[in-house]
């Protein structure tokens, strides 16, 4: 009865099927096959990536919980723990931008509060095709309002992220959402179905035919209107999720819960099998008891439904009543659907019949892992070298063009739609290198950032991975924060292609090496493969989410200039590196060369110097130099200055002027200080063997840069600010026909 077509529809190979038969000792029925299919999918089983992800460091000073749980956990001291994780929702966001992005937020929030943490921040990394295409604008508009619609209603601030535009994302937008939560360290919850005889309780929204995979298969069984009945996109209900959060946290606080797991991808299947497998137990459930939104659902549909806003709880039988009371107070269903058993099997009954009987270990732990072939793509050689183009004569004009490039322009159009202040902790709002949350009642705070540069990763995936980690850490350093742990989202094409696998392997190794260097553990993450349309893959896009500890929030500097006549210091060194720069792409439409070099020792010293200067309260403004180079970084300090203060900078480096202004050499940070403190910073830099120099002063209404006695940039802040500010909103005005 299980033929090739059914296997293909379930994305299983013949070999995998034979293996399943061996594991369970007989042919699986369709429902059981469906269970293996989702659990052994790339998304849940990490078939193609597992062998590489092992290279990430998973130990660290702050680590409480590494990969393998719903989210990573770090020790914040004072009895507190940070729980954080990132997820992608790329494909659904392309099909239905609003709901795709919204349910992406919903999913990651549940990953966090299922561990006993209250979500305190969300960050989103977004990548779209260029905005001159109306389809891309519509996707962006939908995605942003979806994130805003869900997060705002739920009541979690969306405090940071990134937005990036490139042709490769036109048919494959990327929506990666990271959530950070806070928990009491000794009150963490795990996805374990412990205690034979304990009750298995279903809570939250009812189950409908949402997002069931393996769709077309066996349509005979579902009738002709199957397609109609099974939309692959779920609709999110942030209101219900908020109630679910409060009810779960309340039940946790009252010690009514033994184990808990959210029902995300693969819903009931994933939560039942994983909870049992992790506890070394089994589970027996009655599918007739599962709250259902639609009539006539089959066991297959009930088990594989991806309806949102649901959780599975294991509790001691005598606690069930109190638990139900809490959920009913929050107007939510809480239904006992089964119990924990000791035989290691998942057994499910439907209309009195045993319809599932499979070993949970086989489903959860024995998913095959592949070391797929990897091969350097042919194009790598072609793009790695390039001839330096002739320098444009009017760099002052190029400067304006740069700040108005959507990749560098102001992203307020996006984050103004996000409630970034709810919970009254956000002390550094979106617009700075990293967001900072104060922790009520404590001196310390929490900094966080999301970063990735896919152009670097395209040119050199290994270095791209390294730089992503370094840049994220640098962003944290600009808030005076020490990186504590990493989560990452790896967005790639089809891993069955050796060239893609090579990109993946290289990027992972680059990230792993950088994490070793910075001594931070990877606590989890997400892999999103098959980001391809019509055979064309996206650029390899690793996105790094890093949280950092701020020892003293009162020392956190501003992202913009605060006063006139303050001294501007550059930590690090300007080099002649234009490969992979935004400048090269924007002005010459070239994506070639090598991304800038990265020397870990230098990078670490620069960051340490920045951190120490901030902790000593010497720094008024701090900003790292990244996309767009030094000139753009300086301009941003003016744009983010409450009084729009300008600057005058004099440089004498023996390199091309365009490389000096727009090159993206790593390990550079701009620090601004009062004269007296500036000298202290210089002394600190000498002590730490960090290259540092005074490059100019803040003040005035203009932005002026000299190179070797020649004025190369001379713009009023106002004019450049308007160009920067209006670039993205400008596209959306056109689309409305205003």
């Amino acid at each position: 009865m299980i033929d090739e077509k059914i296997l293909a529809d379930h994305n299983l190979t013949r070999d995998e099927y034979e293996y399943i038969v061996k594991l369970i000792g007989r042919e699986p029925n369709l429902t059981e096959l469906g269970i293996f299919s989702v659990m052994w999918s790339e998304h849940c089983g990490y078939k193609s990536s597992k062998v590489y992800l092992k290279r990430f460091p998973t130990k660290g000073k702050y680590l409480i919980q590494g990969p393998g749980e719903n989210a990573g956990v770090l020790d914040l001291g004072d009895g507190l723990a940070v729980v954080f994780k990132i997820e992608s929702h790329n494909h659904p966001s392309y099909i239905e931008p609003y709901q795709g992005a919204a349910t992406g937020v919903g999913g990651i929030l549940r990953d966090i509060f299922t561990m006993g943490a209250r979500p305190v921040a969300v960050l989103d990394s977004l990548r779209f095709g260029p905005l001159d295409n109306p389809k891309n604008r519509a996707i962006m508009e939908g995605v942003v309002s979806g994130i805003s619609g869900y997060g705002n209603s739920f009541g979690v601030p969306t405090v940071g992220g990134e937005v990036y535009f490139h042709e490769c994302y036109s048919q494959n937008p990327l929506v990666n959402v990271c959530c950070v939560g806070l928990a009491e360290k000794d009150r963490l919850f795990f996805a374990r179905a412990q205690g034979v005889g304990n009750a298995v309780i279903y809570v939250g929204a009812k189950t409908g035919r949402d997002g069931i995979h393996g769709a077309t298969m066996a349509s005979a069984e579902f009738g002709k209107d199957t397609e109609q009945k099974r939309p692959n996109v779920q609709v999110g209900d942030p209101f219900k999720e908020k109630l679910l959060l409060e009810a779960c946290l309340e039940a946790m606080a009252k010690n009514l819960i033994v184990g808990i797991q959210d029902m995300g991808a693969a819903g009931l299947t994933c939560s039942t099998t994983e909870m049992a497998a992790k506890a070394g137990t089994g589970m027996e459930i009655n599918l007739d008891l599962v709250p259902q939104r639609e009539e006539g659902m089959s066991p297959y549909e009930i088990m594989l439904s991806e309806s949102q806003e649901r959780m599975l709880i294991v509790a001691e039988p005598d606690k069930v009543q109190e638990l139900q009371k809490i959920f009913s107070k929050w107007d939510l269903d809480a239904v006992v659907i089964g119990k924990v058993t000791d035989d290691g099997q998942l057994k499910a009954y439907f209309h009195g019949e045993l319809v599932i009987d499979i070993p949970v270990k086989a489903v959860v732990d024995l998913c095959p892992a592949y070391r797929r072939p990897a091969k350097t793509p042919a194009f790598i050689k072609k793009i790695s070298r390039f001839k330096m183009p002739e320098m444009p004569s009017d760099l002052n004009q190029v400067f304006l063009q740069m700040v108005a490039s959507p990749n560098l322009a102001d992203k307020e159009w996006v984050y103004r739609q996000y409630d970034h202040m709810v919970q009254v902790n956000t002390m550094v709002l979106p617009g700075a290198d990293s967001a900072v949350l104060r922790l009520k009642g404590l001196k310390k705070g929490l900094a966080m950032t999301l970063d990735g540069n896919s152009r670097y990763a395209y040119l050199n995936p290994r270095r791209g991975g390294q730089i992503a980690v370094a840049e994220a850490c640098r962003n944290l350093a600009c808030a005076g924060a020490m990186p504590m742990g990493v989560t990452n989202c790896l967005n790639f094409g089809n891993p069955e292609k050796p060239e893609i696998m090579w990109q993946f392997k290289e990027a992972v190794e680059g990230i792993a090496e950088a994490c070793h260097q910075f001594d931070i553990p990877v606590t989890g993450g997400n892999v999103s493969f098959y980001n391809e349309t019509e055979g064309k893959a996206i650029y390899p896009t690793p996105v790094l989410g890093i949280v950092g500890l701020v020892e003293d929030v009162s020392a956190v500097p501003s992202a913009g200039f605060l006063g006139n006549k303050e001294v501007i210091i550059l930590l690090g060194e300007n080099k002649e590196e234009l490969g992979g720069s935004e400048y090269l792409k924007l002005v010459f439409d070239e994506e070639k060369g090598q991304p800038p070099a990265l020397h870990f020792e230098t990078e670490k010293r620069v960051q340490e110097c920045c951190r120490q200067a901030i902790r000593q309260k010497l720094v008024r403004t701090a900003h790292d130099v990244s996309d767009g180079g030094l000139a753009v970084a300086l301009a941003e300090c003016s744009f983010k200055s409450p009084k729009k203060i300008g600057f005058e900078v004099k440089l004498n480096d023996q390199i091309r002027t365009d490389a000096l202004l727009f090159g993206e050499s790593q390990s550079r940070i701009i620090l601004v200080a009062k004269e007296k403190n500036a000298r202290k910073i210089m002394a600190l830099a000498r002590k730490l063997k960090v290259k540092a120099k005074f490059i100019g002063k803040t003040g005035g209404k203009k932005m002026v840069i000299w190179h070797k006695k020649k004025k190369v940039v001379d713009q009023t802040v106002e004019m450049a600010y308007n160009a920067w500010k209006n670039a993205i909103p400008g596209y959306f005005k056109i689309s409305k026909g205003e």
């Binding site: 705002n152 209101f239 606080a253 409630d419 202040m421 009642g441």
Partner: protein
Amino acid sequence: MKFGVVVFPGSNCDYDTFHALQNVMGQETVFLWHKDHDLQRVDGVVLPGGFSYGDYLRSGAIARFSPIMAEVKKFAEAGGLVLGICNGFQILLEAGLLPGAMLRNKNLKFLCQHVHIRVENQKTAFTNAARKGQVLRIPIAHFDGNYYADPELLAELEKNKQIVFRYCNEKGQVTEGANVNGSVSNIAGIINREGNVLGLMPHPERASEKILGSEDGRVIFQSMINYLEKKAGRGKKKATKVVKPKVTPLPPLIGTF
């Protein structure tokens, strides 16, 4: 003084408001559960921001039917102080405790940003601590903050000095550009005729601590405290000494009573 912050399903600024009142302003503060009928003898009620009932249907439309709202109504009719912030303002409008209605922001987008509002009437229970025409810098965060009143109502509001806050620029000028959500006559907050119920879209609880970028929101809470103390006959003197609670990074569980 004792304040009550109402918790509706979907409220999400309830704890923020509680924090501002209790930990920043040093007042005794309790949560009031929407299913309850008991106002716990509070001196002032605050309806916080958020998305009560998901803001499905219309913002504030369903919350007004909550059991607690019947008590809030009675409390208001008896002269009790009621403050509605953002979603709380929307609920007051839907409940008919304040006149007018809310429309979607004119740009059809959620807006979260700092704005400036000018105190148009500093002789109210909610603004007595403000200077005349004082400009406050306070954040907004809403989708439906575009206040609507027909011309007659608007004239009446003007006449009775019921317009308490208007969106303005940094210098205090009431301009078109400052009116980010499109409200009629730049209205950011209004008071009822009797002067004991006020609704405003900006979030004073988000502007009550220096570390969050502004303390201007305190003016509103302080005014309420002043008014209540005066009413209680204690003059504008010292606030009642409340033992300052220990502030923790994690909020207590809301709704656990």
